[in-house]
């Protein structure tokens, strides 16, 4: 029996499966966080507690568009390297990093201008902890794609060898999609 020696990609790659399973673990983590939010929310008589404002929908909405939108240049970058277009990959990654940094800036502004802190009632604890947990993951995603960017300058990726890009992109999309769940629960549900 003979076997061809090509780079296994996508679901033929053990690395891809490793990332997919890591994402499953992370999804469970965020799912647990959301569940804890809902648990405490439904035990509280008023939510947010008196004196605490609802989260800012405008800022949150802009942040959402920026972050979820950043998946598009990543997708574009992925398609590029599949065709061997390294330059396209680099541009796509660079754009998504900028968008993610803008997202983080908005988050930072929200933290700084909030009238409450994580010590203010369980509401504050949940709000800041869950947002920070996600924010850390955005930073992680930025680090991953920056590292992919650096590797591309070392000539590591071409049309036949780029499973690391697929894997990194998978993580990026996960971080964006999980934001949708967090946004809905943290920003929209106090208004229900």
């Amino acid at each position: 029996m003979s076997v061809a020696r090509v780079e296994p990609r996508g679901a033929r790659s053990t690395g891809w499966w490793g990332m997919a399973l890591f994402i499953v673990a992370e999804l469970t983590l965020f799912g647990t966080a959301v569940a804890s939010y809902l648990f405490l929310r439904f035990r509280a008589p008023t939510w947010p507690p008196p004196g605490v404002e609802d989260p800012d929908l405008v800022l949150g909405g802009i942040a959402t568009v920026l972050l979820v939108g950043s998946s598009i240049p990543i997708l574009w970058a992925e398609r590029g390297i599949e065709r061997g277009d390294v330059r396209r990959m680099r541009i796509g990654i660079a754009i998504s990093i900028v968008l993610a940094l803008a997202f983080l800036s908005i988050q930072g502004y929200e933290y700084a201008s909030a009238s409450f802190s994580w010590r203010t009632d369980a509401y504050g604890s949940l709000f800041f902890t869950i947002l920070s947990l996600h924010g850390l993951h955005v930073i992680g995603a930025i680090l991953i794609v920056s590292w992919l960017e650096a590797r591309s300058f070392a000539g590591h990726f071409d049309g036949d060898h780029h499973v690391a890009v697929q894997t990194g992109a998978l993580y990026w999309h996960f971080v964006d999609i999980v934001w949708l769940a967090i946004f809905s629960v943290l920003y929209l549900s106090p208004r229900i």
């Binding site: 029996m1 076997v3 061809a4 020696r5 090509v6 780079e7 296994p8 679901a11 033929r12 790659s13 053990t14 690395g15 499966w17 490793g18 399973l21 890591f22 499953v24 673990a25 992370e26 469970t28 983590l29 799912g31 647990t32 966080a33 804890s36 648990f39 405490l40 035990r43 509280a44 507690p49 994580w118 010590r119 009632d121 369980a122 509401y123 504050g124 604890s125 949940l126 902890t129 947990l133 680090l143 590292w147 590797r151 000539g155 590591h156 990726f157 071409d158 060898h161 780029h162 499973v163 690391a164 890009v165 697929q166 894997t167």
Partner: protein, 620 residues
């Protein structure tokens, strides 16, 4: 006389003995052995903690231990046995066996495997550092706030516990991911999922459960750290929090965890019993399905640990029903083993087989008391008493440690290349079986007489002093039995006769290698046509030797059709150094130094970048 292929493979896969390869190896066999030895050291430590507890409780009003010491001992006993002993031991055994059983040469991610071990070792040391600084965890292994919150447990004890467990969860999750990918992608050609050994099924489901159960625990520990150190209010009822949030999160992890402990044991028993009954297991598809169903239902019963907390009874009824239903898959497994014994040839009463039988007896007792606990009013009567201590020792010791002994004896020849003494093995089995039952059966009675758990002493008025003394005597007998196992192992390692490749005449692929296996495992990747390859196929060889470089074969997920060869990395010191980086992060967090935490985080991220620099791109 090694063939040319074997010499070539030894060149590619061989490792020079010595400190360099010891610190850089990614060989699943070496890492598996390491895990097992380290886990057994923690078994010893956990046992010493138990011995101290039984010494204190042998008589009412003892003053051998202060209340603080007792609280630290029982907290560390539970934490050690569950987190540092049994699961790492089964992980190590799986590390060793799974690649061999599925006919490949290593785990999917060898360096991640090494890393998982170093993290486990580091987390174990981290947790035990508490004893060294006189502040061992003292809030129980379950750590309920507000008791473990900042007001009532202000010392560093529970910070060591929660940070230590977050640290450990990195190892558990990485190990689980490694196992799943290995089992999905590296099985020998022809080993479809339906032909996979039941031990591999068990580890597969266990690994999935780890991936899904660790996050709630990690999240809970993060919240506890935040409440303790940053003034958040997750568990403070005066500020919108709820102590029950912890309980839900903890038991969302905690109940699946008992099946994470139990399922590998089931896999071992499903291997040992057919071997010594000289026939394939009866009802393989049912046992595989039962394993999967147990894993799924395990996530739906956690509230049965909270029946006394005052939750609404509609919810309690649902969880009572689910907790009863989960016995059905276990029942299927028990009867599959019984049917295999009944319909098998005259059984060979070897030490592994004795421990497997002992397991059935003890586990069924634990299982029936478990079903009793599913009945809410009964649970509300005897939970938090010694009755539940009896129950869970029957299912954990009986359900996991007996199979562990069975497995360790069964695979001892393969792993060490030596034969153990059957006489010593039999003596140790009977002493352990008798000692275990004398220690733990009286605890059922003690609970029914009203003795609560987690108490450093008890009143003579309760009428339990005789039973406590009896239990402590039993513990002494149990200790002697376990000591005999250790003596057997050491004697055999030094002077046991050499083992053949397949001393038991067993069916699974690991027995097709030498004892112990060569560094490369299989000289050629076997091609499998059935569930019991060594019984069905006398000649397993193929021409898939993969001597091009350090390679294993990737196959498809369901049917294991060959895909591409997968290059495997050489040994590296990066797993160890990266683990040290993580350790530095956790120590920084423990002592509360933000600069140290930041620096060690950056360092660790850099190391991860270096490690992954060559992955998933143009080779070379």
């Amino acid at each position: 006389m090694a063939t040319a292929t074997e010499e070539r493979l030894e060149e590619i896969w061989g490792e020079e003995p010595g400190p360099v390869s010891w610190f850089t190896t990614g060989d699943h066999k070496r890492i598996g052995r390491r895990y097992i030895v380290t886990a057994l050291v923690f078994f010893l430590l956990g046992g010493i903690e138990a011995a101290f507890m039984r010494w204190q409780l042998a008589q009412p009003g003892s003053t051998h231990l202060t209340p603080e010491q007792y609280d630290e001992l029982f907290s560390m006993h539970g934490t050690t046995m569950i987190f540092l002993f049994i699961t790492p031991l089964f992980t190590g055994l799986a590390n060793y066996l799974v690649p061999l059983m599925i006919g490949t040469r290593d785990m999917a991610f060898p360096r991640l495997n090494a890393f998982s071990y170093w993290i486990f070792l580091g987390a174990g040391i981290f947790l035990y550092a508490g004893f060294v600084v006189g502040a061992a965890p003292n809030g129980g292994w379950f750590a309920y706030p507000p008791l473990t919150g900042p007001i009532f447990d202000p010392g560093i004890n529970m910070d060591i516990w929660s940070l230590g467990l977050i640290f450990l969860s990195i190892s558990t999750t990485a190990g689980a991911i490694n196992l799943i990918v290995t089992i999905l992608k590296l099985r020998a050609p022809g080993m479809s999922l339906a032909r996979m050994p039941l031990y591999v099924w068990a580890m597969f489901v266990t690994a999935w459960m780890m991936v899904l159960a660790m996050p709630p625990l990690t999240y809970a520990n993060v919240l506890l750290q935040l409440d303790r150190n940053l003034g958040t209010n997750f568990f403070d009822p005066t500020a919108g929090g709820d102590p029950l949030l912890w309980q839900h999160l903890f038991w969302l992890f905690g109940h699946p965890d008992v099946y994470i402990i139990f399922l590998p044991a089931v896999g071992i028993v499903s291997t040992v019993i057919p071997t010594f009954s000289r026939r394939p297991i009866v009802g393989y598809p049912y046992v595989a399905l039962a394993t999967v169903l147990t894993g799924i239902i395990a996530f739906g019963v956690w509230v049965h640990h909270m029946f006394a907390t005052g939750l609404p009874s509609l919810g309690l009824t649902f969880f009572a029903a689910a907790s009863m239903i989960i016995t059905i898959p276990s029942g299927v497994q028990v009867f599959a083993w019984l049917a295999t014994i009944v319909r098998g040839r005259r059984p060979a009463f070897t030490t592994p087989f004795l421990f497997a039988i002992g397991f059935i007896v003890v586990f069924v007792i634990g299982g029936v008391t478990g079903v009793m606990f599913a009945s809410v009013p009964f649970d509300q009567g005897v939970t938090d008493s010694y009755f539940v201590v009896a129950h869970f020792h029957y299912v954990l010791f009986g359900g996991a440690v007996f199979p562990m002994f069975a497995g360790l004896h069964y695979w001892f020849p393969k792993i060490t290349g030596r034969t153990y003494s059957e006489t010593l093995g039999r003596w140790s089995f009977w002493l352990i079986f008798a000692g275990f039952n004398v220690t733990f059966f009286p605890m059922h009675i003690m609970g029914l007489l009203g003795m609560p758990r987690r108490v450093y002493t008890y009143s003579p008025d309760l009428g339990v002093e005789g039973l406590n003394l009896l239990s402590s005597v039993g513990a002494a007998v149990l200790t002697i039995g376990i000591a005999l196992v250790a003596i057997n192992a050491i004697k055999s390692l030094i002077a046991g006769s050499k083992a053949t490749a397949n001393p038991w005449g067993a069916a699974t692929l690991e027995w097709a290698t030498t004892s112990p296996p060569a560094h490369y495992g299989f000289a050629s990747i076997p091609i499998v046509h059935g569930r019991d390859p060594l019984w069905e196929q006398p000649d397993l060889g193929s021409d898939l030797t993969l001597t091009h470089g350090r390679e294993i074969l990737g196959t498809t997920i369901t049917d294991a059709d060959p895909e591409e060869p997968l290059p495997m990395p050489e040994g590296s010191v990066l797993p160890l150094v990266t683990a040290l980086g993580f350790a530095a992060v956790f120590v920084s967090l423990l002592v509360g130094s933000v600069p140290a935490a930041l620096v060690s985080t950056l360092l660790t991220l850099g190391l991860i970048g270096a490690w992954t620099w060559t992955l998933g791109g143009v080779p070379g």
